[in-house]
């Protein structure tokens, strides 16, 4: 059927698009050498509203480098020497 053809032709979704959001930090085990978020920041954290220390967050910098699919080319949004604003 045509549905089947479409499914084959569609590009693989990126891990970012398919990964589910972590709902329990205690169930995540990080590899050796990667530190977890400081537990004292999350003693009363609500589900999905976690707090992360800077050292934890900085560990992602060297790994998550892929350009987001939804990021427009910067020249196309008028990144020129004039008053311009960009919401992240």
């Amino acid at each position: 059927t045509s549905t089947k053809t479409q499914a084959i032709a569609a590009p693989l979704p990126s891990a970012l698009a398919t990964a589910r959001v972590i709902d329990d930090l205690d169930r995540i085990s990080y590899p050796d050498g990667i530190q977890s978020p400081k537990p004292e920041l999350n003693v009363n954290a609500k589900q999905g509203k976690f707090r992360y220390d800077r050292d934890f967050l900085l560990q992602f910098m060297a790994i998550c480098k892929e350009r987001p699919d939804s990021l427009p080319p910067l020249d196309a949004i008028g990144l020129e020497p004039s008053e311009q604003s960009y919401a992240l």
């Binding site: 970012l16 972590i22 800077r54 350009r67 604003s85």
Partner: protein, 223 residues
């Protein structure tokens, strides 16, 4: 090496285990609205995870490379970066102005650390209180960096601003704690440092309502 049986059973893979085929991501509440956006501000992207934040960060230019007059805004929970937004209208901002010539090298790190404190929700020490009954709402609505021909400005916007009345002392203390944290942990200055000078200000707080009263004596908090 200790093996986490539960994690194995769930087959949880963070980006650190498998940068290509991870299956969980680290939640973040920064997700600007896709509609009703302001004309002079272009919405670049919204994200809901730490992984996506870094993908963005690693693909856009830092403040030191922005044009002479530009702003980056990072706001959360669909809050618009405007005084008129419901979440901002009773609020105010901590800000610091830094002369460009002395801070070209430092501003990018200051802005990065400002964003990370916002995303990590570590500006406000009250939030991490170990009192199980204390579950206060975060006071931070967003952060901004501005470039101008001769200076940079970094601001943190808050939901509320202390009125100055005696019964507002608790809120004033909480707002001050955010300012002190901004000055020392995020910007890296000693608590006692005096920062004002040509084109430079102290770390200062002002309510949006006072900011609107141009010319009149506005109340500032300085840390």
């Amino acid at each position: 090496q200790e093996v986490d049986m539960q994690a194995q059973a769930d087959n949880i893979r963070t980006v650190f285990s498998d940068a290509k085929n991870f299956n969980v991501k680290t939640p973040s509440t920064f997700a600007p609205a896709g509609q009703g956006w302001m004309e002079d501000i272009k919405r670049v992207i919204s994200f809901d995870s730490v992984e996506e934040f870094w993908g963005l960060y690693n693909n856009i230019i830092p403040p030191s490379s922005l044009p002479q007059k530009a702003n980056y805004y990072l706001f959360k929970d669909n809050i618009m970066p405007a005084w008129e937004d419901e979440a901002n209208k009773n609020g105010g901002k901590w800000s610091i102005q830094l002369p460009k010539d002395k801070n070209r090298l430092g501003v990018d790190k200051m802005w990065l650390y400002t964003m990370l404190a916002a995303i990590g929700e570590t500006f406000d020490p009250t939030l991490t209180s170990s009192d199980p009954d204390a579950t206060p709402q975060s006071l931070i609505t967003g952060v901004i960096v501005s470039t101008r021909p001769s200076f940079y400005r970094i601001s943190i916007w808050t939901r509320v601003a202390p009125s100055g009345a005696a019964d507002d002392e608790k809120l004033r203390e909480r707002i001050e704690a955010i300012g002190k944290n901004f000055k020392t942990s995020v910007l890296g200055y000693p608590e006692s440092a005096k920062l004002s000078g040509p084109l430079a200000t102290e770390v200062e707080f002002m309510s949006h309502k006072d900011s609107e009263k141009k010319g009149k004596q506005a109340k500032k908090i300085i840390v």
